[in-house]
Amino acid sequence: MKKRCNAAQAMAEKDYVRARLLAEQAQINAQRAEAMASSVKAKKAAYALQKDSRVLRQKIDRHTQ
Protein backbone atom coordinates (compact mmCIF):
# COMPACT_ATOMS: atom_id res chain seq x y z
CA MET A 1 0.00 0.00 0.00
CA LYS A 2 2.74 2.32 1.07
CA LYS A 3 4.90 1.37 -1.87
CA ARG A 4 2.05 2.02 -4.26
CA CYS A 5 1.59 5.48 -2.74
CA ASN A 6 5.26 6.11 -3.01
CA ALA A 7 5.20 4.97 -6.64
CA ALA A 8 2.31 7.32 -7.35
CA GLN A 9 4.17 10.12 -5.67
CA ALA A 10 7.32 9.39 -7.70
CA MET A 11 5.17 9.46 -10.85
CA ALA A 12 3.82 12.83 -9.83
CA GLU A 13 7.37 14.04 -9.33
CA LYS A 14 8.21 12.58 -12.77
CA ASP A 15 10.84 10.32 -11.22
CA TYR A 16 9.85 7.55 -13.58
CA VAL A 17 12.72 5.19 -12.78
CA ARG A 18 11.89 5.23 -9.09
CA ALA A 19 8.17 5.01 -9.85
CA ARG A 20 8.76 1.85 -11.86
CA LEU A 21 10.88 0.26 -9.14
CA LEU A 22 8.26 1.04 -6.51
CA ALA A 23 5.46 -0.24 -8.73
CA GLU A 24 7.32 -3.53 -9.25
CA GLN A 25 7.85 -3.85 -5.52
CA ALA A 26 4.20 -3.12 -4.85
CA GLN A 27 3.16 -5.76 -7.33
CA ILE A 28 5.42 -8.45 -5.92
CA ASN A 29 4.30 -7.55 -2.40
CA ALA A 30 0.68 -7.97 -3.43
CA GLN A 31 1.48 -11.32 -5.01
CA ARG A 32 3.16 -12.56 -1.86
CA ALA A 33 0.28 -11.29 0.32
CA GLU A 34 -2.13 -13.22 -1.88
CA ALA A 35 0.00 -16.38 -1.64
CA MET A 36 0.09 -16.03 2.14
CA ALA A 37 -3.65 -15.50 2.40
CA SER A 38 -4.31 -18.57 0.23
CA SER A 39 -1.96 -20.71 2.26
CA VAL A 40 -3.57 -19.64 5.57
CA LYS A 41 -7.00 -20.37 4.14
CA ALA A 42 -5.90 -23.83 2.96
CA LYS A 43 -4.34 -24.53 6.33
CA LYS A 44 -7.55 -23.65 8.16
CA ALA A 45 -9.57 -25.82 5.79
CA ALA A 46 -7.19 -28.74 6.29
CA TYR A 47 -7.33 -28.48 10.08
CA ALA A 48 -11.11 -28.14 10.11
CA LEU A 49 -11.53 -31.18 7.91
CA GLN A 50 -9.09 -33.22 9.94
CA LYS A 51 -11.02 -32.33 13.07
CA ASP A 52 -14.35 -33.22 11.44
CA SER A 53 -12.92 -36.50 10.24
CA ARG A 54 -11.70 -37.34 13.71
CA VAL A 55 -15.15 -36.66 15.18
CA LEU A 56 -16.79 -38.70 12.46
CA ARG A 57 -14.37 -41.56 13.00
CA GLN A 58 -15.15 -41.57 16.73
CA LYS A 59 -18.88 -41.53 16.00
CA ILE A 60 -18.54 -44.47 13.64
CA ASP A 61 -16.41 -46.39 16.13
CA ARG A 62 -18.94 -45.77 18.91
CA HIS A 63 -21.78 -46.78 16.64
CA THR A 64 -20.18 -50.00 15.47
CA GLN A 65 -19.15 -51.13 18.95
Binding site: L21, Q25, A45
Partner: protein
Protein backbone atom coordinates in the same frame (compact mmCIF):
# COMPACT_ATOMS: atom_id res chain seq x y z
CA UNK B 1 16.22 -25.22 -12.83
CA UNK B 2 19.60 -25.96 -14.22
CA UNK B 3 19.86 -22.52 -15.65
CA UNK B 4 19.34 -20.95 -12.23
CA UNK B 5 21.95 -23.19 -10.72
CA UNK B 6 24.52 -22.11 -13.28
CA UNK B 7 23.98 -18.43 -12.79
CA UNK B 8 25.92 -18.12 -9.55
CA UNK B 9 28.80 -20.10 -11.11
CA UNK B 10 29.02 -17.82 -14.13
CA UNK B 11 28.71 -14.92 -11.76
CA UNK B 12 31.71 -16.07 -9.78
CA UNK B 13 33.73 -16.72 -12.95
CA UNK B 14 32.77 -13.32 -14.36
CA UNK B 15 33.43 -11.58 -11.09
CA UNK B 16 36.85 -13.16 -10.87
CA UNK B 17 37.60 -12.12 -14.46
CA UNK B 18 36.37 -8.59 -14.07
CA UNK B 19 37.71 -7.81 -10.66
CA UNK B 20 40.97 -9.74 -10.94
CA UNK B 21 43.49 -8.15 -8.69
CA UNK B 22 40.88 -7.22 -6.15
CA UNK B 23 41.07 -8.99 -2.85
CA UNK B 24 37.34 -9.86 -2.65
CA UNK B 25 34.28 -10.41 -4.78
CA UNK B 26 31.97 -7.38 -4.60
CA UNK B 27 29.16 -7.92 -2.09
CA UNK B 28 25.57 -6.77 -2.05
CA UNK B 29 23.90 -7.52 1.23
CA UNK B 30 20.23 -7.76 0.02
CA UNK B 31 21.42 -10.07 -2.76
CA UNK B 32 23.36 -12.26 -0.31
CA UNK B 33 20.24 -12.44 1.82
CA UNK B 34 18.13 -13.36 -1.20
CA UNK B 35 20.59 -16.13 -2.11
CA UNK B 36 20.40 -17.48 1.38
CA UNK B 37 16.57 -17.55 1.31
CA UNK B 38 16.65 -19.13 -2.11
CA UNK B 39 19.06 -21.87 -1.04
CA UNK B 40 17.07 -22.76 2.04
CA UNK B 41 13.90 -22.94 -0.13
CA UNK B 42 15.74 -25.21 -2.57
CA UNK B 43 16.65 -27.60 0.20
CA UNK B 44 12.98 -27.82 1.27
CA UNK B 45 11.42 -30.84 -0.49
CA UNK B 46 7.94 -29.40 0.03
CA UNK B 47 8.87 -26.30 -1.98
CA UNK B 48 10.63 -28.39 -4.63
CA UNK B 49 7.59 -30.63 -4.98
CA UNK B 50 4.81 -28.10 -4.88
CA UNK B 51 6.26 -24.75 -6.04
CA UNK B 52 8.99 -25.53 -8.60
CA UNK B 53 7.64 -22.98 -11.07
CA UNK B 54 7.47 -20.18 -8.48
CA UNK B 55 10.98 -21.00 -7.26
CA UNK B 56 12.22 -20.95 -10.85
CA UNK B 57 11.00 -17.36 -11.15
CA UNK B 58 12.90 -16.42 -7.99
CA UNK B 59 15.98 -18.11 -9.46
CA UNK B 60 15.63 -16.09 -12.65
CA UNK B 61 15.45 -12.83 -10.67
CA UNK B 62 18.51 -13.90 -8.68
CA UNK B 63 20.36 -14.64 -11.90
CA UNK B 64 19.49 -11.23 -13.26
CA UNK B 65 20.65 -9.63 -10.00
CA UNK B 66 23.92 -11.56 -10.10
CA UNK B 67 24.40 -10.55 -13.69
CA UNK B 68 23.67 -6.92 -12.95
CA UNK B 69 26.11 -6.96 -10.05
CA UNK B 70 28.81 -8.53 -12.22
CA UNK B 71 28.25 -5.98 -14.96
CA UNK B 72 28.58 -3.21 -12.41
CA UNK B 73 25.08 -1.91 -13.14
CA UNK B 74 23.90 0.62 -10.58
CA UNK B 75 23.27 -0.59 -7.04
CA UNK B 76 19.57 0.30 -7.15
CA UNK B 77 18.93 -2.17 -9.97
CA UNK B 78 20.70 -5.00 -8.09
CA UNK B 79 18.80 -4.17 -4.91
CA UNK B 80 15.52 -4.17 -6.80
CA UNK B 81 16.20 -7.58 -8.38
CA UNK B 82 17.36 -8.98 -5.01
CA UNK B 83 14.18 -7.66 -3.41
CA UNK B 84 12.07 -9.25 -6.13
CA UNK B 85 13.94 -12.54 -5.80
CA UNK B 86 13.50 -12.63 -2.03
CA UNK B 87 9.76 -12.03 -2.27
CA UNK B 88 9.45 -14.61 -5.05
CA UNK B 89 11.11 -17.15 -2.74
CA UNK B 90 8.49 -16.19 -0.16
CA UNK B 91 5.74 -16.68 -2.76
CA UNK B 92 7.18 -20.10 -3.63
CA UNK B 93 7.21 -21.09 0.05
CA UNK B 94 3.63 -19.91 0.61
CA UNK B 95 2.48 -21.65 -2.53
CA UNK B 96 4.12 -24.89 -1.40
CA UNK B 97 2.47 -24.51 1.98
CA UNK B 98 -0.93 -23.93 0.39
CA UNK B 99 -0.62 -26.92 -1.92
CA UNK B 100 0.44 -29.22 0.87
CA UNK B 101 -2.61 -28.16 2.90
CA UNK B 102 -4.81 -28.64 -0.13
CA UNK B 103 -3.38 -32.12 -0.54
CA UNK B 104 -4.15 -32.78 3.12
CA UNK B 105 -7.74 -31.68 2.50
CA UNK B 106 -8.01 -34.00 -0.48
CA UNK B 107 -6.56 -36.89 1.47
CA UNK B 108 -8.72 -36.28 4.52
CA UNK B 109 -11.79 -36.03 2.28
CA UNK B 110 -11.12 -39.33 0.61
CA UNK B 111 -10.29 -40.92 3.95
CA UNK B 112 -13.55 -39.61 5.35
CA UNK B 113 -15.48 -40.88 2.32
CA UNK B 114 -13.87 -44.26 2.83
CA UNK B 115 -14.78 -44.28 6.53
CA UNK B 116 -18.34 -43.36 5.69
CA UNK B 117 -18.51 -46.05 3.05
CA UNK B 118 -17.20 -48.63 5.50
CA UNK B 119 -19.68 -47.51 8.13
CA UNK B 120 -22.55 -47.69 5.64
CA UNK B 121 -21.43 -51.13 4.50
CA UNK B 122 -21.19 -52.35 8.09
CA UNK B 123 -24.62 -50.88 8.80
CA UNK B 124 -26.09 -52.57 5.74
CA UNK B 125 -24.49 -55.89 6.73
CA UNK B 126 -25.90 -55.60 10.24
CA UNK B 127 -29.35 -54.79 8.86
CA UNK B 128 -29.14 -57.75 6.51
CA UNK B 129 -28.15 -60.03 9.36
CA UNK B 130 -30.96 -58.70 11.51
CA UNK B 131 -33.37 -59.29 8.66
CA UNK B 132 -32.13 -62.86 8.30
CA UNK B 133 -32.72 -63.46 12.01
CA UNK B 134 -36.21 -61.98 11.76
CA UNK B 135 -36.94 -64.08 8.68
CA UNK B 136 -35.76 -67.19 10.49
CA UNK B 137 -37.93 -66.36 13.51
CA UNK B 138 -40.90 -65.82 11.24
CA UNK B 139 -40.23 -69.15 9.56
CA UNK B 140 -39.98 -70.90 12.91
CA UNK B 141 -43.18 -69.30 14.12
CA UNK B 142 -44.96 -70.23 10.91
CA UNK B 143 -43.77 -73.83 11.29
CA UNK B 144 -44.85 -73.91 14.94
CA UNK B 145 -48.21 -72.45 13.95
CA UNK B 146 -48.64 -75.08 11.25
CA UNK B 147 -47.87 -77.84 13.76
CA UNK B 148 -50.19 -76.31 16.35
CA UNK B 149 -53.00 -75.99 13.86
CA UNK B 150 -52.44 -79.58 12.65
CA UNK B 151 -52.50 -80.71 16.29
CA UNK B 152 -55.65 -78.72 16.96
CA UNK B 153 -57.30 -80.25 13.93
CA UNK B 154 -56.26 -83.73 15.06
CA UNK B 155 -57.44 -83.05 18.62
CA UNK B 156 -60.75 -81.81 17.29
CA UNK B 157 -61.11 -84.92 15.15
CA UNK B 158 -60.29 -87.07 18.20
CA UNK B 159 -62.84 -85.24 20.33
CA UNK B 160 -65.45 -85.63 17.61
CA UNK B 161 -64.66 -89.33 17.33
CA UNK B 162 -64.79 -89.74 21.09
CA UNK B 163 -68.17 -88.05 21.22
CA UNK B 164 -69.53 -90.43 18.60
CA UNK B 165 -68.19 -93.40 20.54
CA UNK B 166 -69.63 -92.13 23.83
CA UNK B 167 -72.96 -91.66 22.11
CA UNK B 168 -72.82 -95.27 20.92
CA UNK B 169 -72.15 -96.32 24.52
CA UNK B 170 -75.33 -94.49 25.54
CA UNK B 171 -73.25 -92.51 28.02
CA UNK B 172 -75.21 -89.82 29.83
CA UNK B 173 -73.79 -86.71 31.34
CA UNK B 174 -74.34 -86.54 35.09
CA UNK B 175 -72.87 -84.61 38.01
CA UNK B 176 -70.39 -87.43 38.54
CA UNK B 177 -69.34 -87.51 34.92
CA UNK B 178 -70.40 -89.73 32.03
CA UNK B 179 -72.48 -92.69 33.18
CA UNK B 180 -73.32 -95.78 31.18
CA UNK B 181 -76.25 -97.70 32.60
CA UNK B 182 -76.58 -101.43 31.97
CA UNK B 183 -80.23 -102.25 32.66
CA UNK B 184 -81.63 -105.30 34.46
CA UNK B 185 -82.62 -106.91 31.16
CA UNK B 186 -78.93 -107.41 30.29
CA UNK B 187 -78.57 -109.83 33.19
CA UNK B 188 -80.21 -113.15 33.88
CA UNK B 189 -82.79 -112.50 36.59
CA UNK B 190 -81.29 -112.57 40.07
CA UNK B 191 -78.03 -113.72 38.54
CA UNK B 192 -74.77 -111.96 37.83
CA UNK B 193 -74.36 -113.38 34.33
CA UNK B 194 -74.39 -110.91 31.46
CA UNK B 195 -76.73 -111.60 28.55
CA UNK B 196 -75.33 -111.29 25.04
CA UNK B 197 -76.81 -107.79 24.67
CA UNK B 198 -74.98 -106.72 27.85
CA UNK B 199 -71.75 -108.30 26.63
CA UNK B 200 -72.06 -106.34 23.39
CA UNK B 201 -72.34 -103.10 25.33
CA UNK B 202 -69.42 -103.96 27.61
CA UNK B 203 -67.32 -104.83 24.55
CA UNK B 204 -67.83 -101.33 23.18
CA UNK B 205 -66.69 -99.92 26.51
CA UNK B 206 -63.61 -102.19 26.54
CA UNK B 207 -62.74 -100.96 23.04
CA UNK B 208 -63.11 -97.39 24.20
CA UNK B 209 -60.83 -97.95 27.22
CA UNK B 210 -58.25 -99.59 24.99
CA UNK B 211 -58.28 -96.62 22.65
CA UNK B 212 -58.09 -94.01 25.44
CA UNK B 213 -55.79 -95.52 28.08
CA UNK B 214 -56.02 -92.41 30.33
CA UNK B 215 -59.64 -93.15 31.23
CA UNK B 216 -60.70 -95.33 34.20
CA UNK B 217 -64.09 -96.73 35.10
CA UNK B 218 -65.96 -97.45 38.30
CA UNK B 219 -68.55 -100.21 37.99
CA UNK B 220 -71.38 -99.87 40.51
CA UNK B 221 -74.09 -102.49 41.13
CA UNK B 222 -77.59 -101.67 42.47
CA UNK B 223 -80.72 -103.68 43.21
CA UNK B 224 -84.35 -102.97 44.07
CA UNK B 225 -85.62 -103.28 47.64
CA UNK B 226 -87.11 -106.74 47.21
CA UNK B 227 -85.40 -109.35 49.33
CA UNK B 228 -82.94 -109.10 52.19
CA UNK B 229 -80.28 -106.47 52.40
CA UNK B 230 -77.55 -109.08 52.46
CA UNK B 231 -78.79 -110.81 49.34
CA UNK B 232 -79.21 -107.48 47.58
CA UNK B 233 -75.74 -106.38 48.61
CA UNK B 234 -74.31 -109.67 47.42
CA UNK B 235 -76.15 -109.51 44.10
CA UNK B 236 -75.03 -105.96 43.45
CA UNK B 237 -71.43 -106.92 44.25
CA UNK B 238 -71.56 -109.89 41.95
CA UNK B 239 -73.15 -108.01 39.07
CA UNK B 240 -70.60 -105.21 39.34
CA UNK B 241 -67.78 -107.74 39.50
CA UNK B 242 -69.23 -109.65 36.56
CA UNK B 243 -69.00 -106.53 34.44
CA UNK B 244 -65.48 -105.87 35.72
CA UNK B 245 -64.40 -109.43 34.89
CA UNK B 246 -65.92 -109.12 31.43
CA UNK B 247 -63.96 -105.90 30.86
CA UNK B 248 -60.72 -107.50 32.03
CA UNK B 249 -61.38 -110.52 29.79
CA UNK B 250 -61.73 -108.10 26.90
CA UNK B 251 -58.28 -106.63 27.66
CA UNK B 252 -58.98 -103.71 30.01
CA UNK B 253 -56.33 -103.03 32.64
CA UNK B 254 -57.26 -104.31 36.08
CA UNK B 255 -56.08 -101.11 37.78
CA UNK B 256 -58.37 -99.11 35.50
CA UNK B 257 -61.55 -100.93 36.43
CA UNK B 258 -62.98 -100.85 39.96
CA UNK B 259 -66.20 -102.64 40.96
CA UNK B 260 -68.49 -101.93 43.90
CA UNK B 261 -71.96 -103.02 44.99
CA UNK B 262 -74.40 -100.72 46.77
CA UNK B 263 -77.29 -103.16 47.32
CA UNK B 264 -80.63 -101.41 47.33
CA UNK B 265 -79.17 -98.00 48.12
CA UNK B 266 -79.47 -95.03 45.73
CA UNK B 267 -82.61 -96.10 43.88
CA UNK B 268 -83.37 -94.17 40.70
CA UNK B 269 -87.12 -94.86 40.96
CA UNK B 270 -89.68 -95.91 43.54
CA UNK B 271 -89.85 -99.59 44.45
CA UNK B 272 -93.65 -99.74 44.33
CA UNK B 273 -94.21 -101.00 40.78
CA UNK B 274 -92.54 -103.74 38.81
CA UNK B 275 -91.41 -101.24 36.15
CA UNK B 276 -89.72 -98.90 38.60
CA UNK B 277 -88.13 -101.80 40.47
CA UNK B 278 -86.66 -102.92 37.18
CA UNK B 279 -85.13 -99.44 36.74
CA UNK B 280 -83.49 -99.76 40.16
CA UNK B 281 -81.92 -103.10 39.24
CA UNK B 282 -78.98 -101.88 37.22
CA UNK B 283 -75.23 -101.57 36.84
CA UNK B 284 -73.84 -98.08 36.36
CA UNK B 285 -70.44 -97.54 34.86
CA UNK B 286 -68.91 -94.16 35.74
CA UNK B 287 -66.34 -92.95 33.26
CA UNK B 288 -63.46 -90.94 34.68
CA UNK B 289 -62.27 -87.63 33.25
CA UNK B 290 -59.33 -87.57 30.84
CA UNK B 291 -56.92 -87.83 33.81
CA UNK B 292 -58.46 -90.94 35.41
CA UNK B 293 -60.33 -89.12 38.22
CA UNK B 294 -63.78 -90.29 39.30
CA UNK B 295 -65.99 -88.40 41.74
CA UNK B 296 -66.83 -90.84 44.59
CA UNK B 297 -70.39 -91.37 45.93
Amino acid sequence: MQKTRYFPMTLIAAAVAIFSGCSSIPQNSPLTEAHSSYNSARSDPQVMNFAAVELLQAGESLGKADHALSKGVNEGKVDQLAYMAKLQVGIAQETAERKSHELAVTNASSKRDQDLLHAKTAEADAAKQELAVVAETVDQQAAALAIASANAERDQALIAQQEIQLKELNAKKTERGLVITLGDVLFSSNKAQLESGGIHNVQKLADFLKQYPLYKVLVEGYTDSTGSNNLNQELSDRRANAVRTALLDMGSRSDHVTARGYGEAYPVAGNDTAASRQLNRRVEIILSDGNGNIAPR
